[in-house]
């Protein structure tokens, strides 16, 4: 059966990832943003200012939850306590949907706080699909999973990421968060064609898009979320929008975060790429573009690094 577009979720428009440095601006100005996405782990235990601010914001804006520690691909047991808190938060803020990544974050009880890739093969597909079903039963809603940026591929993979995600979504009956920047980053890092990738994801299951900036390290790209979206990613977004139709679009900016209006104006650029002709350059996998910045730092830190600093008198 063909699922309803976006699994029946609404197109929320253009949203921004909620970050603590922007709390004062948002509470003072209540800017004309369509919706906010929160990092789930920053709020599920909070009984302080982050949770208070979220309650204020959720009264005015639609909220979507995006996690970084579900670890759906791990071979450790699912953390039932974590899932109960996730559901509780989703119910309390009336979350539009709950998303995380196709990845694992740790094993043997540890958390590397990174979005680590898994080999893509039949066994890992069965493993992840089974876990998604359990999570969906606990959350009592479909899970939405994001394609990660990655820096390694495995000799044990037997299918491309796009095929894995396609089958995973169909077999687990879950939604997809298509991160267009991640498609671009991984396409450069793993030498695949991002256009082919976009053409082959199940468009009707895409509930949300992500956009973000990345860092060009000359030999590879790192998903740092620390700058503007570059032109090749915008072109891929234009294609993704044409293929998937109107889908909620969210800009992430997690490091070197500028003032709120700068972030807001960045996501508003999406309008320029909707319903317009594809540029001839769409799909370029050149790792170097004129608007890319080069980084020579060996310690360029990929997203995520979601820590909320205490405010002290």
């Amino acid at each position: 059966m063909i699922p309803a577009p976006r699994l029946g979720h609404p197109n929320l428009g253009l949203g921004i990832g909620l970050r603590s440095v922007h709390y004062p601006h948002i509470l003072e100005h209540y800017p004309d943003v369509d919706w906010f996405e929160i990092i789930s782990e920053n709020y599920m235990d909070s009984r302080g200012r982050p949770r208070y601010v979220l309650e204020q914001i959720s009264e005015r804006y639609p909220i979507v939850m995006h996690g970084v520690s579900l670890s759906i691909g791990s071979t450790d047991p699912l953390d039932r306590d974590y899932l109960a808190k996730l559901k509780n938060l989703a119910d309390q803020v009336n979350a539009g949907w709950v998303s995380d990544h196709v990845c694992w974050t740790g094993v043997a009880g540890l958390n590397a706080h990174d979005l680590l890739p898994i080999p893509y093969n039949e066994a890992t597909l069965r493993h992840v699909v089974a876990r998604i079903r359990i999570v969906q039963d606990i959350l009592e809603r479909p899970l939405v999973l994001e394609n990660p940026s990655s820096y390694v591929t495995f000799a044990d993979s037997t299918m491309p990421e796009c095929e894995f995600i396609n089958r995973l979504a169909a077999e687990a009956d879950c939604g997809l968060l298509l991160d267009v920047n991640n498609v671009y980053v991984s396409s450069v890092n793993h030498d695949f064609d991002p256009v082919e990738y976009l053409n082959n994801v199940p468009h009707e299951r895409v509930v949300q898009f992500h956009l973000a900036g990345h860092t060009n390290c000359r030999t590879h790209l790192i998903d740092t979320h620390d700058g503007h979206v570059i032109d090749p990613v915008w072109e891929l977004y234009r294609l993704a929008h044409r293929l998937c139709g109107g889908v909620s679009t969210l800009l992430e900016w997690d490091a070197k975060i500028p003032e709120f209006p700068v972030v807001h104006s960045e996501v508003l650029k999406s309008r320029d790429y909707m319903n317009s002709e594809l540029a001839e350059s769409v799909g370029t996998t050149e790792p170097v573009s004129s608007s890319d910045l080069f980084s020579e730092s060996p310690a360029t830190v990929p997203h995520p690094a979601a820590y909320v600093k205490a405010e002290v008198e």
């Binding site: 590397a112 990174d114 030999t219 820590y307």
Partner: protein, 293 residues
Amino acid sequence: MNSQQRDLERIQRWMQSVIMHPDGAAAGVESKAARDQIDVNSRDVEQVVSRSKNLTSLERLSIYGNAYYARLLECLHEEFPALHRVLGDDAFDGFALEYLQAYPSESYTLSNLGTKLPRFLEETRPARTVDGPDWADLLIDVARLERAYAEVFDGPGVEDDQLLTADELLKIPQDRWPDVTLVPVPCLKLMTFTYPVHEYASAVRQQADAEFPEASPTYLAITRRDYIVRREQQTAEQYNLLGALCDGVPLSQAIEKSCRHIADSEDFALALGVWFRKWSVAGYFHRAELAAD
């Protein structure tokens, strides 16, 4: 494609050992922990992780290895800015790297990353070479304070509650004091320090110049009002009285226990009124409870 795929758990345990190795991915591949899972050396790592057009397998794994420590160090810098200032970049990062190896994160949230840092500093402190407080005591004090700030900031609070006012408290007739207990707010932490590290920590957070403090016994009440962490220095007598009250000791008994040596002084009753007014303004107590007649 391999004819025999490896077990996913082995691959994950192997990769985790590799990227968490403090000496880098190559050393990680050669480590016993990694080779117990997948027995390849650093020259043959392509058997597990494929190379790309531009990078070798080891170089690709190193991206995760570099990011692991860099990301967590960044979080510890955020949580412990004063400790970072005291130690400087190199020493802080050195301590932090050892800490992350001793106590790797077991939590889904980075808010818990620094939980055991004060304990780690105590466990690894060098032997004392001087009588009295030393440098290690200062480091431990700063770490304890900054961890307390993080916990109070995001822990339970009373922002929506009506708290006990000084007038309500002082209205209680003195003959009922043996029966009165005060219920502290859940965000109140009472802590003693060897150094007055709170002033140093505040200066660092305000990005001001700060001298290392001289050792001096320091008693702090740390709480939260309007979602911002507040700290107030107390005298030893105030600290002891607050501590007794927070333990549920009835008012008159707490005063007797904590302030016996000054309770007979002429000014004590006056001072007590001033203390309670100050504590009420600071919002340390939720309510007073009277034992049933």
